[in-house]
Symmetry: C6
Subunit: 252 residues, 6 copies
Amino acid sequence: MVERVKTGIPGMDEILNGGIPARNVVLLSGGPGTGKSIFSYQYLWNGLRQGDPGVFVALEEHPVQVRINMSQFGWDVRPYEREGTFAVVDAFTGGVGEAAKRERYVVRDPEDVGLLGDVLKEAIRDVGAKRVVIDSVSTLYLARPALARRTVMLLKRILSGLGTTSILVSQVSVTERGFGGPGVEHAADGIIRLDLDEVDGELVRSLIVWKMRGTAHSMRRHPFEITSKGIIVYPDKVVRLGRGFRIERTEG
Amino acid sequence: MVERVKTGIPGMDEILNGGIPARNVVLLSGGPGTGKSIFSYQYLWNGLRQGDPGVFVALEEHPVQVRINMSQFGWDVRPYEREGTFAVVDAFTGGVGEAAKRERYVVRDPEDVGLLGDVLKEAIRDVGAKRVVIDSVSTLYLARPALARRTVMLLKRILSGLGTTSILVSQVSVTERGFGGPGVEHAADGIIRLDLDEVDGELVRSLIVWKMRGTAHSMRRHPFEITSKGIIVYPDKVVRLGRGFRIERTEG
Amino acid sequence: MVERVKTGIPGMDEILNGGIPARNVVLLSGGPGTGKSIFSYQYLWNGLRQGDPGVFVALEEHPVQVRINMSQFGWDVRPYEREGTFAVVDAFTGGVGEAAKRERYVVRDPEDVGLLGDVLKEAIRDVGAKRVVIDSVSTLYLARPALARRTVMLLKRILSGLGTTSILVSQVSVTERGFGGPGVEHAADGIIRLDLDEVDGELVRSLIVWKMRGTAHSMRRHPFEITSKGIIVYPDKVVRLGRGFRIERTEG
Amino acid sequence: MVERVKTGIPGMDEILNGGIPARNVVLLSGGPGTGKSIFSYQYLWNGLRQGDPGVFVALEEHPVQVRINMSQFGWDVRPYEREGTFAVVDAFTGGVGEAAKRERYVVRDPEDVGLLGDVLKEAIRDVGAKRVVIDSVSTLYLARPALARRTVMLLKRILSGLGTTSILVSQVSVTERGFGGPGVEHAADGIIRLDLDEVDGELVRSLIVWKMRGTAHSMRRHPFEITSKGIIVYPDKVVRLGRGFRIERTEG
Amino acid sequence: MVERVKTGIPGMDEILNGGIPARNVVLLSGGPGTGKSIFSYQYLWNGLRQGDPGVFVALEEHPVQVRINMSQFGWDVRPYEREGTFAVVDAFTGGVGEAAKRERYVVRDPEDVGLLGDVLKEAIRDVGAKRVVIDSVSTLYLARPALARRTVMLLKRILSGLGTTSILVSQVSVTERGFGGPGVEHAADGIIRLDLDEVDGELVRSLIVWKMRGTAHSMRRHPFEITSKGIIVYPDKVVRLGRGFRIERTEG
Amino acid sequence: MVERVKTGIPGMDEILNGGIPARNVVLLSGGPGTGKSIFSYQYLWNGLRQGDPGVFVALEEHPVQVRINMSQFGWDVRPYEREGTFAVVDAFTGGVGEAAKRERYVVRDPEDVGLLGDVLKEAIRDVGAKRVVIDSVSTLYLARPALARRTVMLLKRILSGLGTTSILVSQVSVTERGFGGPGVEHAADGIIRLDLDEVDGELVRSLIVWKMRGTAHSMRRHPFEITSKGIIVYPDKVVRLGRGFRIERTEG
């Protein structure tokens, strides 16, 4: 029986037949505005509530802003930081600025993936992390796509080696249909794709689990919503994009 | 309750559920002739009328021409410049020419983003700006696309850090469906796309809010017009581009 | 009330609500064989007949050939050259050849945009030009696309600064749907696109005004013809390209 | 009244309203197997029969092979070569080989366009050529596309300057829809496109005159055949490529 | 009568008319999540059960993880390793780490294809391998696509020369329709493509044998499933992808 | 009356109106698995049986493997090699290996096209070859596409100059619709394209003669099969690829 980590996101664990298999490194891929950060905040927050310590690696935003973003959904991580079960790794400021001085885990040179790995390992060990989010890995190889596979491989060794179940946020362009390039797609244990499509003048949100090592999973595209309390996925509905689109209730 | 900045553009604030959340950095993306500059002039003008000081960074046109363009819609910013609540940052002339000598905020080398940032900070502080427009950010990395993300990140830190709610105009080619590249799309807090499409021999104007951090928003494509008094958006109509197109009145 | 320059091309000024707003720099974009040169000859000739002095910058053909081409439509510019109200700037020969020695305005090195600008300024001032055509600007950056925006910006400053209303001919490939690249499309005050499309075995000519600063304009694609007397545009017909095509009389 | 050069190809001159306007430089563009060389042989041969001396510049095949190819259609150019009204310019062998030693006009280095121009001028003057074919110009810039426009401009000056009416064969790939690139398409006075399309399991030959300076011309796509006596064009039929295809007799 | 190697994968040998012809080097090509690794584990395991020794070259995962992955399907290779009929070649760790020290076949520098070839030869000879899998070859030339053909040629010489029947796993991007590039596609003796397609909101698994030297094979696309016991192929059903999709029972 | 070389492939000579015109250099183009090598083996074998000596240039496989491949169809070339009417040129091994030492015609450096040409000339003269196959020419310029035209031109001069009728195998990617690039397509005297298309879940084999200098030929796409006795073409059937496909018996 495979050990599973529940995302806690309503509807999501049904789609995953019970949750993400433990130690998997999952690529969470999507264009701008698809809800990747919210999904990963919610994954960490639900972990904290269930007793899973967690680490968030901030590459796109100031750690202070990350905490504010989370609190807008009612997810206040500061008590967990104080009790030592949650940590934000600051790979954004480079340690520059007043606020940055108050951060505990700072990657001085975010371009240095080895250094990032070291700080990440320290944070995981300190809090005894079970869940990790890196938001986003794309930033690490945006200017050097040839390094994508090597970077993801290195992170995977750390994340899986230290026993965490992790999400790597992968930013793709709004016009791109892939998941972040061949080197990345094949290296991940799982791929969840979030989509925002304009169909006949309406924006439609849906997600699909493209692969997930160690478990069967829904083979359908499901609608989801972003609410003031986070993401809600509808495991019993399927989105059929084509001419116009239909959301249908599924039989099974 | 999120603080909001009203665009004042008829119909636009309904689409945004009350306005742009304060401190957001919004990418205003569109092809040639879509009305990006008019939208951003109108945003600043409506701010001035409500008591929000503002700054316009001119990268595409001579500051003198910017004032003329605005006055053609009846928006005379000179009184506000005199009373110190509005400023144009000249990042166009490089300080060359008679007219340029009369400008107060001049970026000597518009290719130097750091210098642009410094002049921008000075202008924002001097007028106590609540609203800023940069027209356009694309110019800053047109010849160096690898710098796009870094440039937008730098501006975002200044604009958000100083408490302004800002619009970054993003020029895309008429044949391009994205918003300005992956580095830019993901860095912005919001994306508003203006479109001009030829459908069956007719040019059709529409806009869509693709993302907006901190608020729900219309998930539909809405028609708009450019009139002699500026832009009017129709929040109760939806544009369905497909074979031919339809503009329908929506129920909700 | 905006000052306007009438093109004098039958049907065209109706489409432009009375003509091109004065001082606008208009991109006239189209593939091979679409009639760009004829359109711009006709624009200058109609100006001369109404008393507007003009300048034609020849980058694609020998000045002698330009005069022959124009005379084939009955437009003999030589009397106007003699009385000093029309000039051809020779940016084609580099001053090499017998005929070139008889030209008054010669750009010795057509690759040197600064030099071109100087000769252009001289010609505009000498004849007191109200209308200018550059045929084509594409030649100036064909081999150096990164220079496109800078080149167009420089010309725009001269042309608009000296009070002329001008047409920049932009050559695009027969398979290209854009107007000449992002740097160029956004820099122009107006864009008129001429098209030649094969539809169901027939070649169809049409034009569309994509943008025009300072005026409303037809938002439709109109058919036009090239006759022995020049171009005739049909403002009361619309071309709907799709499966096959239809030319319809419009109601309004 | 424009002077015209009759191609003599059955049906072709009707399509051109009487022939190619004198001194025009015409791009004859098409993919492999479309009949470009046959069209240009026939153009020269019909000239010889009507008393127009001609020059063929061989860049793709050995001059000996060119003469054999022509003779397969019954077009024996050797008598005309002997009487000095026809010449083949050998830009293929570089003067290497026994047969090459017997050629009169040899371009020692076919990569040197200036040298090609000099030999071409000599041949044109010697035979008093009225018609010239260069088969193909594509070879001259295949490896250096940035030189395409300059090369065509140089040839155009020679060909038009010496009073000839000429055909430049332009090879495009079977998958390419253009005519040979923007620099070339716009430089030519005329463009004739030969096509070979597979439609529903059948190969269909058709041609279209895309542009022709100095004359009106058919605005339709016409079928043609390659027979043992050369090309026959059907000016009263039109090819409509779409789903399947139709060849229809036209009314006018 | 051609000698054949049975894959043992239910349904697969029917499709191959009895199995893979001996000594063939087969490209197993597919996007992320298509089941390439599972297919190749199953191929080796079934060999072991029938008495065919085998070698697995691990380029994508730690040898320890490979054994775990296989055991999740009930395929425990350790007894075979102990008795000397199965070997994992570690081309993943570079010999770094505790676990790696326990591996017998280690490629110290996985970038060195010559070295990989030497270790591979040693392992094949030691176990007397009949079946070999390399997972994946794509990794060997991801950063140097110009080397793809040479790499595959070198491996082919070893694999075929030593009498093995082998599978080269080829990773392609989710958006790529080819099999891994021209140099690779033509070099392989056989190509099996695994696909995962989203059709109308459902993920569909299918495979097709594109070529297989030395045997006739099914010319149809067949559905397959991934179960807890490995892959099951349905030789009597065909997948027709088009608008929506159909899975039909075939007559023959 | 043009001299013709019969391919001897059932159905193929009907399509070619009697065979390939003598001395033509024919490009045989197709993706992986389309049967290019089988077609060319069969062409040579049928020649040997009719008394035409032949040469096969092996660039993709070991000469030993080539002989095995041919024998699988019952085509044993060894007696012809012994009697001196058939030769394999080894441009694969570089002379390395035991088996290679027994080959008579070895190209020591297959990257050196000049050297290849010399060995080819020697082999042609020795056996008095009437038919030559080079499998494949693509290999010669895979890594240096700019050399494609020059390489093909050089081979063409040798092959045609020595009086042979030859086939150049051109490998294209499975996703490529061309024949091997513009430089190659135009240089060949004939083009035969072999296709393998997936249509509605079924693989369909067909071929089309795109061009053939010196003869009329079928202008249709014909189905063919690969059997244990080689290729069979159906000249009286046509393949119409479209939505689904149809194979129809043709009237003429």
